[in-house]
Symmetry: C2
DNA sequence: TCCGACATGTAAGGTGTTACATGATTTC
DNA sequence: GAAATCATGTAACACCTTACATGTCGGA
C-alpha cells in the first residue's frame, strides 16, 4: 500500500518542504491520523526521488547547513491523484490497546475495572480542550469553513479528531456508570 | 510493548485454546480492536511457552491430527494482571488512510471530493446493521448487561465498535452536506 | 470424492520504532 | 555559553502481511 509515500506526496502537493519539515507536519494536525519518524521519512524521500515522484534543490541555511528542499513532480501529482481516487478498503481492525484490556475486564475486580476506565477517561479528556481551541480558532477566521477554503482539509481533520474523542469519552462515562461499585 | 503477547494471555485466561482457535477469535468480536495472522500467532505461542507464560498438551483430533491446546500458567496470569493494571499511554496517532485523503481534499474537484466521502459513507454503513444485530442479541439475553455478567467484555467491544461507526457516519453525513455541489 | 474447514508451521519482504551518529543555527 | 531547535542520515530490531508449504477431518 505504501501509505507513507502518498502522505509525503500529499504534503508536497501543498508546497515545498524539507525532510525535517515533513517530520514536523506529522507532529501537527495530520498527526492525529498519520505519522512517521524521520528515520522512515528520509529513506522514503530518497526512494521517491529515484522513482521520479519528487525532486529536490539544496538550499544553504546560514553559512554551512545544507537543507534539501523537496517538490512534487508532474509524475508525482499524477500518482497522488490516482491514489486519491482509488478505493482503499476499510481495515476491519483498528487497533486499540485499551479496548483489548476492556475485553479482558473479567480478569479484574470491580475496583480495578473502574480505575482502568477512569484513568482512560482522564487521559482522553486532556486532549479535548486543546482540540476544541484549535477548531474554534479556525471557525473564528471564517464561518462556516467551506469546500473552497484553503483550510478545509485542516478543518476536516480537526473536527473528526474532536468528535472521535468526544464519542470515546461519552462511551467511557456510560460504561463507568454501568460498572458501578 | 508486545501487545500480541497480552492479547494471547488474555484469551487463554478465559479458557484453553489452540493456535487455530486464537486465530479464529481475532476474526470475531475482539478483531474490531486487535488482530493477528496465524503466521504471527504460532511463533508467539512458541516464545510464550519458552518464557513459561503458557503451556500446552497435544490432543489427537480424529486418528492422526495433532493439535496443541494451550493453557495459561500461574506466571502467565501474573504477567497478564500486571499489564491490565499498568498504564498504557494513548498513542497520539490512530492511523486512518481515509482521513489522510480527507486532509488532502484540496487536490480534488468538488465532485471527486463528494464521491470520496459518499463511497466512505456507503462502506461504513454496511458494517452497522451487523453490529446492531449482535448487540441486540446480547442485550436480549439479559438486560442490562452488568459487570458481573460473563458477557460484559463482549458487550464492551460491541457497543464501542457500534458507536465508533455511528459517530464516523454522522460526521461523514455532515461533511458531505458541507461539501455541497 | 471433492470441498471447506481444521491444523501448524516457515520464509520473505514491508512497515515502523528506538537508538546511534553527527553537526549547524538560533535564542536566551 | 548553554540549550533548544534545525537538519540529515544509518543500524538494529520489532512488528506485521503475504506467500509458501503441508497434511487431516468431516460432511455433502
Amino acid at each position: 500500500m505504501r501509505v507513507l509515500k502518498y502522505a509525503i506526496l500529499g504534503l508536497l502537493d501543498k508546497g515545498q518542504l524539507s525532510g525535517y519539515d515533513i517530520t514536523s507536519k506529522f507532529k501537527e494536525e495530520i498527526g492525529h491520523f498519520w505519522s512517521a519518524k524521520h528515520s522512515q521519512i528520509y529513506p522514503e524521500l530518497k526512494k521517491l526521488t529515484e522513482e521520479g515522484f519528487v525532486e529536490y534543490q539544496i538550499v544553504i541555511q546560514g553559512t554551512k547547513l545544507e537543507k534539501k528542499v523537496y517538490s512534487i513532480t508532474e509524475l508525482g501529482k499524477k500518482e497522488l491523484h490516482e491514489w486519491m481516487n482509488r478505493y482503499s478498503p476499510i481495515p476491519d481492525t483498528q487497533k486499540d490497546e485499551f479496548m483489548l484490556k476492556a475485553y479482558f475486564v473479567s480478569s479484574l475486580s470491580q475496583e480495578e475495572a473502574k480505575q482502568l476506565f477512569k484513568d482512560q477517561l482522564e487521559k482522553r479528556g486532556q486532549a479535548i480542550a486543546f482540540l476544541e481551541e484549535r477548531l474554534q480558532e479556525l471557525e473564528g477566521k471564517e464561518e462556516p469553513v467551506s469546500f473552497s477554503s484553503p483550510d478545509f482539509g485542516h478543518y476536516l481533520v480537526l473536527s473528526r479528531a474532536l468528535e472521535r474523542e468526544k464519542g470515546y469519552i461519552s462511551w467511557l462515562e456510560r460504561m463507568i456508570a454501568k460498572i458501578g461499585g
